[in-house]
């Protein structure tokens, strides 16, 4: 089996096929990443910073067919979305329904969707930069402290932040 010498052409073809399969594999990962990427949309019903667009007194907004959210002027709410292309349906107080489609940048996790700007036909999606809030003090030292004792030993946290117990089967 190992003694057989392969034709260089076969070798090259085999290498190319393997490279092709690797590319397909990476491509599938990229595809799944693009379709599965989650974003948090901050639905904003406030006056724009430059004052050119005013907040709407009362509206109801639904993103990608999710349950509608009611927003009064000056209010914000959030919706979780998956993928890049989205459809937003805004119902204004007088019953007027507006549907718009928009895309979100792949790399950003949190985006702000200004509904007044959306209704005014202006670019409405901007990257939302949250305030840098200190993370809660939790689990400073971790890891499996009982790794060299019995695996059945209960993981009693001797100090705050000791490892969590495994989930019950």
């Amino acid at each position: 089996m190992s003694g057989t010498v392969l034709d260089p052409k076969v070798k090259t073809r085999r290498l190319l096929v393997r490279l092709g399969l690797l590319l397909v594999y990476v491509g599938v990962i990229a595809l799944v990443f693009t379709f599965g990427k989650g974003h948090t949309l901050i639905l904003d019903n406030k006056d724009s910073d430059d004052g050119s667009v005013k907040a709407i007194e009362s509206l109801s907004v639904s993103v990608d067919g999710q349950d509608p959210l009611d927003l009064a002027a000056g209010e914000r709410d959030q919706a979780k979305v998956q993928g890049q292309g989205h459809r937003v349906e805004v119902t204004v107080k007088d019953g007027q329904k507006v549907e718009r489609r928009f895309t979100v940048p792949l790399a950003e996790d949190i985006l702000l969707l200004s509904l007044p700007r959306l209704l005014a036909g202006q670019p409405a999606v901007t990257v939302f930069v949250p305030l840098d809030v200190a993370a809660p003090a939790e689990d400073q030292e971790e890891g499996n402290s009982n790794a060299f004792t019995s695996p059945s030993a209960p993981a009693e946290p001797a100090v705050p932040g000791a490892p969590a117990k495994p989930p019950a089967p």
């Binding site: 599965g36 499996n144 993981a155």
Partner: protein, 369 residues
């Protein structure tokens, strides 16, 4: 006489499963739980655990015993899930991403495990168990020190406050029960996670098909007798490595299915008892170190988990302490493994003695003639 002998043989061969059945039936009433609740829990746990337990089958066919090294695959699956949470990937796409990313890691882990187990022929189980401890250290080093420092981590929510290392518990809200809830079917009071069951059924079909292939037949030949298989031209070491690689990859996917059902992940501990409970389940189902079938998997998962569901309630009622039931789980898990191994050793010895006696008898008869 022969009826008595066959009854005795049946009892001996099914001692574990019968013992378990009796304990489970006795514990149901004091637990105070309704049969509908127990049934729903059993359905949920069948979906959650069956894939992991099925991952044990191929190494048993290959004569490598119970693959305690499946923990390596579980760790690879968790690594994939950490990345999915890090990039905020949701739904089934998140699960597929986790599986695809962890696949190369689990292939490598399976290969390493296979090579090590080939060096320890005859002592695969204990070697796999210890190997899992060793790789656990590597996993902790990667997740605790490299992630966030060497491996970039985007999500601040999963990083420890010191700036590197992943938090003890990860919230898997983005992928929580997405596989189970994608195609639910309500049958009377029960909700069946059809898609999860379809994935498990596909694996069963794969295993049945695989057994009929050349490689599957080679595996069974190796499991039956390594030396005979070697003489027949079967590449024994390679076949054993492939069995372990497939088992490790299946364990990776199984752990992802398990954790998506749980909805959260104890980053440093979730894999600790993966192999332990999977092994306990398959043994409860009537399998042994040398022989296991697909029905053993499902019977075992049902029985073990029914007992897990009812034991806290039964413990509370009988001893006034729910924790007794929790300890009972551990006791039952280890107890079943120990009992099965002892019974297996006892049966092997009896079989050897019987063969020896047969040979002596045969020799005496032959000599007499």
């Amino acid at each position: 006489m022969s009826g008595q002998r066959s009854l005795g043989r049946f009892l001996r061969e099914n001692a574990v499963i019968l013992l378990f059945l009796i304990v489970t039936v006795l514990a149901i009433r004091p637990s105070g739980l309704s049969l509908v609740y127990i049934g729903q829990e059993m359905i949920t746990r069948l979906g959650r655990d069956s894939f992991l337990v099925l991952a044990l089958l191929l190494p048993i066919y290959a004569g490598m015993g119970l693959n305690f090294g499946m923990t390596l695959g579980a760790m690879a699956g968790q690594f994939g899930l950490i990345l999915a949470v890090n990039y905020n990937l949701l739904g089934v796409c998140g699960l597929v991403f986790a599986a695809l990313v962890s696949l190369p890691v689990s292939l490598l882990m399976g290969y390493i495990c296979g090579v090590v187990l080939n060096k320890a022929k005859g002592r695969e189980m204990v070697t796999g168990y210890i190997l899992a401890f060793f790789v656990n250290g590597v996993y902790q080093f990667v997740v605790l020190y490299l992630m966030g420092s060497v491996i970039p981590v985007r999500s601040k929510a999963i990083v420890l406050s010191r700036g590197y290392g992943i938090r003890n518990t990860l919230n898997l809200d983005g992928v929580r029960q997405t596989l189970d809830n994608l195609l639910p079917l309500r049958v009377g009071p029960f909700v069946l996670p059809i898609l999860t069951f379809l994935v498990i059924a596909a694996l069963c079909v794969f295993i049945i098909w695989f057994k009929k292939t050349k490689l599957g037949q080679d595996m069974r030949a190796v499991g039956y007798d390594m030396h005979v298989a070697e003489s027949a031209g079967v590449p024994v070491d390679r076949t054993r490595i492939i069995a372990i690689i497939i088992s490790t990859v299946l364990a990776t996917i199984g752990q992802i299915i398990f954790l998506q059902n749980m909805g959260n992940m104890a980053t440093y501990n979730a894999h600790d008892q993966t192999s332990f409970f999977a092994v306990a389940a398959i043994l409860v189902g009537g399998a042994s170190v040398k022989k296991a079938t697909i029905p053993n998997v499902f019977i075992g998962v049902c029985l073990l988990h029914v007992l897990f569901v009812v034991s806290p309630g039964a413990g509370q009622k009988l001893f006034g302490e729910a924790m007794i039931g929790e300890y009972f789980r551990q006791f039952i898990g280890y107890g079943v493994i120990a009992l099965s191994l002892v019974l297996y050793a006892w049966r092997s010895r009896r079989e050897a003695e019987r063969l020896r006696e047969g040979l002596r008898g045969g020799a005496a008869e032959g000599g007499g003639k």
